[in-house]
Symmetry: C2
Subunit: 437 residues, 2 copies
Amino acid sequence: MKKEKNNSPPSGTRDFLPRELHRRRQAAGILADRFERHGFLPVETPALERIQTLTGVYGDEGDKLIFKILPRGQQAELNPQPDLALRYDLTVPAVRALAEHDLLQKGFRRYQIGPVWRAERAARGRFREFWQCDVDLYNTPTPLAEAETVAALEGGLRDLGMRELVISVNTRGILRKLCDLFKISEAQRKAVLIALDKLDKFPIPSVRREIAAIPCSGARLLADALHPEFAAELLDKDTLDGPERDELAEITEAVAAAASRDLEISVNPLLARGLDYYTGFIFEFHTLGGSTRAIAAGGRYDNLAAEVAGSDCRICGGSIGLERVLDELEVQDSISALDPPADDVVHLTLFSPEMLVATEQLARELRDLGLKVYVGRGGKIGDQFKAAERAGHRRCLIYGPDEEEKAVVTLKDLETGAQSEVSISDLAGLVEILKGI
Amino acid sequence: MKKEKNNSPPSGTRDFLPRELHRRRQAAGILADRFERHGFLPVETPALERIQTLTGVYGDEGDKLIFKILPRGQQAELNPQPDLALRYDLTVPAVRALAEHDLLQKGFRRYQIGPVWRAERAARGRFREFWQCDVDLYNTPTPLAEAETVAALEGGLRDLGMRELVISVNTRGILRKLCDLFKISEAQRKAVLIALDKLDKFPIPSVRREIAAIPCSGARLLADALHPEFAAELLDKDTLDGPERDELAEITEAVAAAASRDLEISVNPLLARGLDYYTGFIFEFHTLGGSTRAIAAGGRYDNLAAEVAGSDCRICGGSIGLERVLDELEVQDSISALDPPADDVVHLTLFSPEMLVATEQLARELRDLGLKVYVGRGGKIGDQFKAAERAGHRRCLIYGPDEEEKAVVTLKDLETGAQSEVSISDLAGLVEILKGI
């Protein structure tokens, strides 16, 4: 027998035991119901993609975080370079899959809830295997797609019990206009956006330093202008006026119509979002007083389908981070509704090895009538009661030779200690009693 | 715009569109309900495991089929050898996870339904990403664990609509006795078992040739004895009598008590099962007249926990192959009950871009009242009706400026063509009408 094994899951991944799993499944089910109520249909893609489908799409940082898989067998000898990779998000594989099934042009609306993998440095609350909950509208015009995306995600967050939701909205057009205003050179715009994206996670001075260090005189001007009221000032003055601001206003109006009246909408001309592929509207959901990390986010990406699948298609969508929402719900103390029930399981004790066949027959008949039945492991009856209590089973059935002869079972309520004999000649009656307690 | 992309999923994997996904989810939900009715609780492990957790456990053939993942970042420079792997089954990771959470000794019963990955040569009906549906009883004695394993799997198969089920049962003890009888040397026993395992897939002469080629005089004797009646003769005569046969009889009796009366139990002393790790009872489910491949299988593996997790634990369990069952259900023509409903989605047409905000508000209110609402993509109203029909939505709502002024919607039944105006001053009334149709 080997000893001292490391039995923890790989760094950044987790094992889920029943209680946590019940919570996660409930949450995923709630989101699926919500997304279907908005007319989205489920699509699932494999965990694996061809490596060329994923590289170059998420930016340089993203490329480094892709888990790569080695070729197998004969292939490996011909070419030892990795040929497959684990999906990095659900968005890109979905575009590939819908192109393959000729669904990009038909106004399809898709949702998917499942794991993605990123080789991030594992840290508290940051995982290498985590779940995204996506909605996307394909070939659907502005601002309908934006409104429907936000409405579905907000509805899902509310159904899960999230309160005091705020959505920050912006467009890439506004960011381009801002860069134009400050005469940021084309070559440096990506660096500026990456720095601006950190505004909700880091203090202003640190972002200001990062922007000032970008080799471009406009960047230094922008860094000087960055102070807490900068975003509000940009909106108050007519600095951003023009078609970009009109477009943002039109989208914001549609989003407000589709969202609940409780959603606080915050127009933020500095909101940048990290991912390379956005082309228009971008948004992030937070909770008032919650973590600085977004709990959901997304936007419009009209060029991705051409890049990934060689097919033009305007797309808008977004994603809820399941772990982040569950984290916040834990903080908000609203998880009890998601707790697993165990007291509907009946613990049928195994009185002795000789009673096994009779006990299994009784278990089969009770299960056929719809009861959840756990057959005890045998051993001392008192130990079986204790095991039942630990598992949260409230009712025990005892079925020994005496009971068998009298055609009864002894029913024991572990909470009250009450014990009574019930006939098994009328099993449906017993099931009624057990379901009624 | 790039053209001519290969948008198919990687070889041996699949994209699932809503219809197929609905079927798969229904099936997984039915199995989860069944397993919980038998007292099993869900556990989920990551897709990734440390490579040393998996290698050496599944035999030499298995090792070759494991998908291996390259190290990332700095690690990759220090050691370019793969450090992680995709899980090959659910059984081994579960043993690791339960050891980590100290649950192996407590009589835990676990189920898990999810994908596993094997780098098999992809072929019709054989996938590299496929789903297993596992149940296992930890530290639970014989024959209780065997009976509970079979009862849960059989119940699940029946709930899915599988009929004419046959279970073949045997033990490793019987196989050892058989090898003793034929004086098969220890070194050649594994090769003999691998060959016997092919008896349900290949004609007897081909298996006979494979066994005769094994360098051992006993193997040639066994090959000569292999004819269609050989298994039955072994049982009729007292050749196998002894403690091994008594154990198999005891298990078979317990299994028969726990299983439904319709299950045909076939004792087959030649049943071998491929996986290295079985130590006692082994079984396979088939359907009469169905595919030669088993639709579910399993057995007892009392040494695996020591090998994988450094912890002694007797375990018995089994697994349903989701794809195989769905294949057979398709053949059995019983899939209709698993088809997705779409006629409960109401298609709210977008009359014109000017009506977007009012339409989104109406959509929100209808969804708040529990309706499934798909907001049309705009364009010609006739095209929107066609899109609704293609999507299986039976009812359309038209909400143009005329309707807005009169505070009504026009309700159109696409099946009958019937059209009527309904007031929206009483939305609950409208929802009643829409739910009632």
